[in-house]
């Protein structure tokens, strides 16, 4: 019962207001005047003008927003997230390589070859250099900052232990091996996981930029805005043609052509940007990620191998880790199996095959060292490992060099495609708003010509 009553009450309300004198009659009168004016031709023309302007401006706003969102993402990928990812990769790589170098150099005993020492120091410099850039440029993320802090805090401790290992090794003291093991352990347990977190964060950020830089939403919104503004413009021209019996209104036709032209430009730009960015990932950064991860793993395998020799049979963890890392790297179902299909995308499949061959050579060579050690000829095993470490043409050196070279080539492909992505949109930033306003003005001029005829 109550429900019915309240409904009655609602219906009763407008009756009350109508009954009141003054205001309602004024609105009704205004409405009457507008309706009378609207059914006249000049009135209709004014209404059409408003619609056309609204359509053109709506197109301008939507197209600008669509272009902005894509351009921002493409630019961020090219100038921020990918370069930061490269820095994170450099950090990760140089730390891993520093340890591989320190452990193999340790094997030489007292007299370190100067170029190995220089190599180790160069790795440390690269690592601290990347760390400085990352400290400056990582924004926001607390996790990234804490990872950078961990590395900054522990790296001096690590290098201190490496130096203690060297000093003891120089005197022939076996405690040097314990210092080296401690240094390696600090790297493996604390420093490299932080570098890995940093790498994952930066890679995720690049992935986000790829997603927003290739998202279909801006293109769909643009399509709707184009359709709407063109439909309004064309409908307006039909209306004008009917009332004026002139088929062509040059101004309005120009406005339509401007909108259509800038639409084509924007669609081509957005599609071009999207395709270039997809290529940047598919031909560039995908390979960079897989190749650099392989290189980090190779360094880890080298460190494991050296630590096995340094342990002289007392270390069971390093040989087990070596086996595991080698199977993760392997071209049979491991990382190097992923490199092939990625390289095939850019027609560099033979490079991937060379990597597989170099990996097989490395595994072979590592097997020789292990066999020597297992048969008790540890001195010969060390001699072979040391000779390998010093030689730029050893299987490990060739594999490492090739991984780096191919990663650099992929990085260059990324940079050129990402540059294409940003340049695909260049000019649109200004052209869209300017031309949308121009189209609105042209259409208004055309409509006013007709309106003037009715004065």
């Amino acid at each position: 019962m109550f429900v019915y009553r309240s409904e009655f009450a609602v219906e009763a309300h407008p009756l009350d207001t109508v009954a009141r004198p003054g205001a309602p009659t004024r609105t009704a009168a205004l409405w009457q005047r507008l309706r009378r004016r609207a059914i006249t031709t000049p009135g209709k023309l004014a209404l059409v003008s408003m619609l056309v302007v609204a359509g053109a401006l709506c197109f301008g706003v939507v197209a600008t927003l669509a272009e902005r969102s894509r351009a921002d993402a493409a630019r961020a990928a090219r100038t921020q997230s990918e370069p930061l990812l490269v820095k994170a990769v450099t950090l990760y790589n140089s730390l891993s390589d520093a340890n591989a170098t320190a452990t193999t150099t340790f094997l030489t005993g007292g007299l370190e070859p100067p170029q190995r020492r220089a190599h180790y120091l160069q790795d440390l410099r690269l690592a601290t250099g990347s760390l400085t850039t990352l400290t400056r440029d990582i924004s926001g993320s607390g996790e990234a900052r804490s990872a950078v802090r961990t590395i900054s805090d522990e790296l001096p401790v690590y290098s201190g232990r490496v130096e203690a290992a060297r000093a003891n090794n120089l005197q022939g003291f076996p405690v040097g091996a314990a210092y080296l093991r401690q240094a390696s352990n600090l790297l493996a347990v604390t420093i490299l996981p932080a570098a890995n977190r940093l790498y994952a964060i930066e890679a995720q950020r690049l992935g986000d930029d790829y997603r927003s830089g290739t998202s279909n939403a801006p293109l769909v919104a643009l399509g709707i805005a184009i359709a709407l503004s063109l439909v309004i413009l064309i409908a307006a021209q039909r209306f004008v043609a009917r009332i004026s019996r002139r088929i062509l209104n040059v101004w309005m036709l120009l406005a339509t052509l401007v909108i259509a032209g800038v639409s084509v430009w924007a669609v081509v730009g957005l599609v071009g940007e999207r395709n270039a960015l997809i290529r940047a990932q598919r031909d560039g950064s995908d390979s960079v990620e897989v190749l650099t991860a392989s290189r980090v793993l190779l360094s880890r395998a080298q460190s494991d191998q050296s630590l096995t020799l340094v342990g002289r049979g007392s270390d069971e963890a390093s040989p087990a880790d070596f086996q595991k890392v080698m199977s993760v790297l392997s071209p049979q179902g491991g990382m190097l199996a992923v490199v092939g299909p990625l390289a095939a995308r850019t027609g560099t499949g033979q490079d991937a095959q060379r990597l597989a061959q170099e990996f097989a050579d490395y595994r072979n060579q590592a097997g020789k060292v292990t066999a020597l050690q297992d048969s008790g000829r540890i001195g010969d095993a060390i001699k072979l490992a040391v000779a390998d470490a010093a030689s730029p043409s050893s299987p490990a050196a060739r594999l490492s060099f090739d991984l780096a070279a191919q990663a650099n080539a992929a990085q260059a492909r990324f940079q050129s495609q990402a540059a294409d992505a940003t340049s695909a949109l260049s000019g649109l930033e200004i052209a869209i708003p300017v031309l949308a306003v121009a189209a609105a003005i042209l259409a208004l001029v055309g409509l006013r010509q007709r309106a003037r005829e009715y004065r």
Partner: protein
């Protein structure tokens, strides 16, 4: 207008279709991250099994150090008895010995000349000399504490000299020669420490290898010390140098090696546990045990043992070379 609308929509749809071809995927990145996250495989710590084999003093025997008596006549080099294990070694051309390579003075891989050297190594070379007449007819193989008994059983080494303390439990798995070195558990402290023996270390942190007999002994000491376990022997010296511990407890043989590496340390107090070292040999070759005991007996008698001891340990102990440990034989 009605006719145009579908056409415009068709254009928009076509544009969307062009854009839709190809898309981004983070599959390679996921592969890379998964590979980088590879965890080191879990390995059994070499010490854990040692503890189980040596800690259980349940297996008791009256004279664990009593070994097999050597034959009346020692075979001359190159003329070992026909059908004996020594003959098999001779035919192979070299003796295979399982050793540690990280114990300075005892068995140590010298990184400068890439040679294995030390007290135990020289004793083993004497065994090789007794078989071949050549002390260099020997191949040293690094064995971990964990694998040394298995290495003997599966025949990958002929003999092990690796700070191997003779216990009743271990005698069930392998045979031992007579005692070639009488080690004992002691403590090593920084040279500025006020501690004069393990009794002064109550409440202090004392380092030992995880799972070793040493660390078990530490837990029974009065006054109580805080046992600080490390995975490998040499890690204790690092812990002491970094100030993480106040002392190291280990066999005297190992402590001597630490002292030689760090002049700012000293061994203090009497030994509080005996660790008699014997060379281990597979139970399948009693004739080889007798042969090795014969070589050891000759070294004790002709001063070779003292010479080797003085060469390796004399310069660190700064004490008179002791008499070699007396051989005990089974009756």
């Amino acid at each position: 207008m009605r006719r145009r609308l579908p056409e415009v929509l068709a254009v928009a749809a076509a544009a969307a279709a062009i854009a839709g071809c190809g898309s981004t995927s983070d599959h390679p990145l996921r592969v890379a991250l998964a590979a980088l996250a590879t965890k080191p495989p879990a390995t059994t710590t070499s010490s854990s099994t040692t503890s189980s084999s040596t800690a259980s003093s349940g297996a008791s025997c009256s004279h664990p150090e009593a070994s097999l008596r050597p034959g009346a006549v020692m075979p001359t080099p190159g003329a070992v008895p026909h059908g004996s294990f020594m003959e098999r070694i001779q035919r192979r051309g070299y003796l295979r010995a399982g050793v540690d390579q990280n114990t300075l003075l005892f068995a140590y891989f010298n990184p400068q000349d890439r040679n294995i050297e030390g007290f135990e190594i020289d004793l083993l070379r004497q065994i090789a000399k007794a078989i071949f007449g050549n002390p260099d007819a020997i191949q040293f193989r690094a064995v971990t504490t964990n694998e040394r008994s298995d290495a003997l059983r599966d025949g990958s080494v002929d003999i092990v000299a690796d700070a191997f303390t003779i216990t009743c439990e271990r005698r069930r798995q392998v045979d031992f020669s007579t005692v070639y070195f009488d080690a004992g558990q002691q403590v090593l402290v920084p040279s500025n420490s006020a501690a004069r023996s393990v009794k002064d270390l109550g409440g202090k942190r004392v380092c030992a290898t995880i799972g070793s007999t040493t660390i078990l002994k530490l837990k029974t000491l009065k006054p109580r010390v805080v046992a600080y376990g490390v995975p490998q022997r040499t890690d204790c010296l690092v812990a002491l140098q970094q100030g993480l511990v106040d002392a190291i407890s280990s066999d005297s043989s190992i402590l001597l090696g630490y002292e030689a590496q760090d002049p700012e340390t000293k061994i203090v107090g009497p030994r509080f546990a005996d660790e008699p070292y014997g060379m281990a040999i597979s139970k399948a070759h009693p004739e080889f045990v007798r042969f090795v005991n014969g070589v050891l007996a000759r070294m004790r008698a002709d001063g070779t043992w003292e010479r080797i001891y003085a060469h390796w340990l004399g310069k660190v102990t700064h004490a008179k070379t002791p008499a070699p440990p007396t051989a005990q034989y089974e009756h």
